[in-house]
Chain length 342, copies 2
Amino acid sequence: MQKNITIVDIAKEAGVSISTVSRVLTGNARVKEEKKARIQEIIDKYDFHPNILARGLINTRTHVIGILCADIRNPYYAALCVTCEQAANENGYNIMLCNSFGDRLKEFELLDNLSRQRVDAIILLGGAADDLVTDHEYAEKVNMISDQIPVVITGRLDGTPCSRINIDATEAMTQVMNYISTISSFKKIAFAGGRSDVIFTVGLRACFRKMLRQLKLEYIPEFDVSNPHYDETGGLEAMDTILKHGKPDIVICVNDFTAVGVMKSLANHQLKVPDDISLISFDDTFISTLITPHLTSISYNYVQFGSQLIESAINLIEGKPAPTETLIHPTLVIRESCKKGA
Amino acid sequence: MQKNITIVDIAKEAGVSISTVSRVLTGNARVKEEKKARIQEIIDKYDFHPNILARGLINTRTHVIGILCADIRNPYYAALCVTCEQAANENGYNIMLCNSFGDRLKEFELLDNLSRQRVDAIILLGGAADDLVTDHEYAEKVNMISDQIPVVITGRLDGTPCSRINIDATEAMTQVMNYISTISSFKKIAFAGGRSDVIFTVGLRACFRKMLRQLKLEYIPEFDVSNPHYDETGGLEAMDTILKHGKPDIVICVNDFTAVGVMKSLANHQLKVPDDISLISFDDTFISTLITPHLTSISYNYVQFGSQLIESAINLIEGKPAPTETLIHPTLVIRESCKKGA
DNA sequence: TTGAAAGCGCTAACAC
DNA sequence: GTGTTAGCGCTTTCAA
């Protein structure tokens, strides 16, 4: 390990004061062109970069945005984090990523961690903010933190000043149902998976029932099956339950993983997608096109989603206002899991 | 935004000097129990955390480890990053994650970025380090950086002092081939996907041929098909090519994504897995159990892999030695994509 | 324009 | 045990 080169070394070699070097570094003041060139040359020669810690000590900026999500292995979070990172990079920020693995305690810890790391802003992707009813202790924690660091969330956290960016659940489900309504053979609609204490899912279900009424389609309670796990197992269990009560024409799956489980249950029952039963899902992760048939799925424009998250965060960092709530418009991507209209 | 509370405020309120507060903060020196308790109380009351930047300025430690990978959306990287993060957290470190998206230029940039952020160590997951023949410019860059910051890699970077942690390609392929040899009906073995300029893949292929000879099985050049893309398309293309030349008994796929593509090609040709053709793949990501039939796949013990990466990094950070090269032992996970022995 | 010097918040060596 | 003080590397007044 070499001795770190500092602004002092540069100043010495250039025969100027450190302030002058600092001026060319920040560009905040005029320096005589000739000197400036000489200094820049030396900076380049050593590939010198000012110590970001020392800088941060002064203007209390680290140019790091912390992201807290449940599990980056979930393609939904991966897709979102990646677009966040790109948007952040474009604006000179870096991402510090943390996974809570759905552990509320760990989420608390990581929140602390992030604030201790002096990140400039924190983005909370779901987690406690996904809860239908806000955990007060958590909200209090976030409140303490957001006194110092702007916090942007997906979901909702009552009693906190956090900016919220969310998928428009109502629009998502409306699109699904409108699409379904164009196919006359779809009479019995099922909804598989998702928890009743997760705000987005609750929004989906509420709209599901509303649209059913609106479209004069029957709501069959036995075909509306929740499940604690947003994964394959959840889908498998939910579909097994549904099939005990009959055979729907189409099943709406709360996410792609659930759809995979639903397909497995269907396969176990010798039912073919989409010939016997059609499928629509939410999230449109890469899983949609990985499995056969490819899933017709609601897509979220992850690029816009991520950019919005970062944009709000940066605005808040810079003391500018950011919208309290922003809704992301979903779009239905039609593939093969849904029988063609008739 | 509230005024930041500092060590001075704590000292003032406790009626002691800042050094005393610092002592209870670091625990590096004895403080009278009574005072200690009083100070701790005030610290807790304000939920005070010492400014990590100021601390870092002194001991030049940020407690952040930077990870550079191609694309976190790839389940292989996601699995690895997650275990790295856990290992890092357990040791008081945080992760700064960057994705290069396979763009060599961006990789350069991010490397710079990370070093500018003063991360304590950098972990390079593949990227340029995956190259069979080292990119000299890149190696030079890494050399400059590793003068200041320890760099740990998967892959190889000739001419750099980086510690390397790698999957044992030879052992992985040996296990696959030994397993294959237990099934007497397997005579014609194919290998699908992977590039000839990626070091791990090259290792796999070399061992593939060696084992074929050793097991007195025929090497059929037309059944050994590379492909630039480690994804579904790559697998589909490779398998289409193989099928033009005949029907192998089993195809070894360079990774899970490739296996998915291979299965699609097979389905297009009305061939069933494993009844008509068996499949084995590498990586054992969640995709292995997502698709039907579940893939028999070589698994890497991601927990050990991640821990090893972090352990080496931390050792280097602390000036302790770390092994130049560590090999991770793979294990074959037997599922359904491979016909049972006969 | 430029340099000297104060100070960001903290730790550690040095006195007492 | 405890306080005083000198930095860590940088930015930013304040004078010149």
